[in-house]
Symmetry: C4
Subunit: 320 residues, 4 copies
């Protein structure tokens, strides 16, 4: 458990949206990817799921596979319908009596209808077949309208594309210590007006009960005009910090979690984007400082940002 | 009618957008679903309706039915055109003289043209039929362009997905009383920077006239960083509250309405979302407190939020 | 010209984006529909036009006509190509030697290709025809992709749908006078957090030159939580007002222009919307007050907003 | 190198997102088009690229060419598949044995399938060909869904369309000097609530090392209600300015860079738009003033903004 003294000197906050009741919480509060470590129950699954949010979060592979699976399922459904009505109602096919071959002909007609390619070498005959084909092509267009929308939604979803250093450091800073971590944008995007918010959750003993206390960690610079190069976020561990009394051992023994939110304006999306992550005490390196991750290019015409060096640090002596 | 004394001690506000003239208002001001209880007249229906807003609010069933009805209507319209021009102008059909059968052939050709499936076993012959078919396929593509847009608009519309407790409670709070209600997000969405605004409308007698007065209800915490778990909103009924003098009977006799707006930032939409609702005095439980609706999961690796317990409360003694 | 005394007592502002040089300005500064009364030259037309902005502003009729005209033009272009290549390269057609009939066959094939309906009773033969047909169907799909986007953009464009009273009034207010006008939303939209900004431009003589001075007109209430009913905007003409010394005749003789911006948050668009308009002195009614434009419904269950009464007013005596 | 005295009197800022370490930077910090002069390495190319951002930035020509190249590639791929399966499996074609002609037939069938035009004079025969054709038409629809989304994204991307003067001037201003540049919107868009932020980077000698210092340049008016006409941005070079001690020669000898961001609200996009640019000392004209770029129209009914005069200036005497 973390040292109590520094915790009581400082005011904890209760507007984090998390509960001070440690016994109600399991695991870390926020996952590395920024999602709250939480499951919801009590209402039916389909009411609990925002299809939109799910589709946005899916990997591209899962998304494509999902769309393909739905396409095949609809195809099979309509093929079964045509087969039931009778393959003889599909002009251009020759019913051979074999289930597989007849079904396949129905399936191929179905797929030509669903995609509206409609070659016409197979064509519907009679009232029912025509109605089903008409419905299928309508449904095809509707589905592809939906898929177009989903593709666009996934594609155009504003994202921050921020890379975080794997660890946070306790580094020397202005004769004292500071908690530091580093971020950079890793795509060809450009963020302006970037703002960072760091909240620390600490599990402490209070009257024989473990409670979670929340402290805002003030940053040396919490807002920058442009997230152009890398940005090292610095929380000075001075007397105003809830970590001021922590020795190296205190840090190691503590159960803390840093919850980080970075909000910025993306030029190209013309939208505010936000990314969250968290660090726990196991992701700390005590006594280290970050080394620069950018340099002048060889031809001196531009600046070179090396993203693989975001974790680059060296050991550093800390004042006791 | 509610007690007058507390109403006059406190300053009412006049920037709610609602009228202080009770005799001009009918029923509650804001419906449970957050819509203003209002009808507009005086300009033609089509000018008064934003098709976009209507389509966004429709249920998925109504929307699909609407699209299908329009599809069928256009189909029927063009089928009638082809029938009028003459089914003999559709190569591949055999005019049988029966209205129904001939019309059906025209209808199926029409639907194959509208969806651009165009099998070709029926094809247009002659100038007029070709022109109509050309127009229909153009119109088909235009309509489906529109429908694609609508689907996407409905699909991607930023929504808050906030669940409100069915009742508000008058609960014990720091030795006194407080008005409380509870919210939680019920989907796999995540809201940050959530802010709540509560305005109370009270109908009171003033010089023999019933007037509506509006009071802001200050919240103990009105803004949280993350709407992660449930959030209990607390208005302390202290001497600064316009409800400070209300006895249980005053609450029951009163005609009050709480109008609530919650605004937050949705990570995935990267947009501000907002949800409104209202409570009236009949939706109050006097002397009760909420019980927790979340707990540590059995395997202690995450927190479990039980949405069906949002109304869970127990009776509680209130100070007099 | 307006009275000078009141103009000089008050500080004019210079951050309106308009010029104080009256001789450089023609007509009113802002049109009734909120557009700046301005034309731009000096760079080529196509660089000066944002196709997107133009398409958003077009009426639905103009838009549909534009799309149809482009569709027909592309069709004609490709028909000419097929005709030039030779109608004998379109299997299923019978070249009759008549220009019109042969061209029509090429045109119909073209439209079947562009819309991808592709019946197939006419089909391309030979290398060149096939290449052209392939390009045309590709182009068809690209164009309809574009049109889909445009439809959606027009459709989903956030608009405020605010109705303004035709006139502004000089009305009695708290024993003095006030400048008033009235707004209401006229669609099934709902605006929250509405804010109004009123700037007055006055053309005054200064050292034998006509200059335009700009004054902010402070409003009694400039921000409301919800634009639910109608909203009467009130600028009190007290000693702090630049209009304080204006007699009825001064108003009539003056050359003033009120430029109004209303900004609000739309629940369904989840977006900030903005609408602008302007009033000039000819749109003033001196000595009048607005009458209510809403009432309780007959069955007392809702409030009824009568949009055709937005201009409803009665004569009113003004203090001198 | 610039004069040191003025640099030390004023506080530099360190929240620009750029580095004070001049030796790590190459060339200018911000390019004329507002992009940071920076390259990123260290993670694989495909992780470093946001396809969305790239597609948004492409010229229309590059974009169309890219789409066409992808279309042709997919076509060739499927044509090769059909050719490998055998042209005899495409009913309606006559295998002639010549590679080119057979491949072309496969290619044309492929393109008719991909665009879903599906004339049907060529149609798939047998299981494998049908499956491939079914996949191709599915893929066609998916691709065109994607392209529709991209078209819309490019089309609807909020842009500021702001024109900057080519140079900044040192001009006479209120008996002293001021740094000025000029902007105007050049399209039929309208910006409100425009705000400008100017940061100056100066490379100075400090302890034998070249460091980059950043200073905010305060503007006489930094925010205007409406970017209606042109807007001349004015930084007064008074005692509060970090440029106060600069003589003409100092300006010429200095290595400064002005980084400019203009943020505004676009009425039609209903969105905040932002544009950036930079000026370096070589883009300065010392001793000049801007001449008006707008005038009353000949018929006196509107104001005329001449965009080709944005750089129009005359020589002007400066106080020493």
């Amino acid at each position: 458990m973390a040292k109590q003294s520094s915790q009581t000197k400082h005011n904890s906050i209760d507007n984090t949206g998390f509960s001070p009741n440690s016994s109600a919480e399991g695991g870390r509060l926020t996952n590395k990817d920024g999602r709250i470590n939480l499951r919801k129950t009590g209402i039916p699954f389909y009411e609990r799921i925002s299809v939109y949010h799910s589709l946005l979060r899916m990997s591209q592979l899962t998304f494509t596979a999902t769309v393909f699976a739905i396409y095949t399922t609809i195809n099979l459904f309509f093929a079964a319908l045509y087969y039931t009505i009778g393959v003889d109602k599909l002009a251009g096919t020759t019913p051979v009596g074999s289930f597989i071959e007849d079904f396949l002909q129905a399936f191929f007609f179905s797929s030509q209808t669903l995609t509206t390619v409609g070659y016409g070498h197979i064509s519907p005959v009679g009232f029912i077949t025509n109605v089903v084909a008409s419905l299928e092509s309508f449904m095809g267009i509707m589905s592809f309208a939906l898929v177009t929308g989903m593709f666009y939604a996934r594609f155009s979803r504003p994202k921050a594309y921020i890379l975080f250093s794997s660890h946070f450091l306790i580094a020397p800073f202005k004769g004292g210590r500071a908690l530091m971590f580093r971020v950079a944008t890793y795509k060809n995007n450009h963020l302006t007006d970037a703002e960072a918010l760091v909240t620390m959750a600490v599990h402490v003993q209070e009257n024989d009960k473990t409670v979670t206390k929340f402290f805002p960690l003030t940053l040396d610079i919490s807002r920058i005009n442009s997230l152009a190069l890398s940005w090292t976020l610095v929380h000075p561990i001075d007397e105003k910090s809830p970590l001021s009394d922590y020795s190296e051992q205190d840090f190691i023994d503590s159960r803390i979690e840093l919850m980080i939110t970075i909000k910025a304006f993306d030029d190209h999306f013309s939208n505010t984007v936000q990314q969250r992550t968290s660090y726990i005490q196991d992701e700390m390196i005590y006594g280290a400082r970050f080394l620069p991750m950018y340099a002048r290019s060889d031809d001196e015409t531009y600046t070179h940002l090396m993203l693989d060096k975001i974790d680059l640090h060296e050991k550093a002596e800390l004042p006791q």
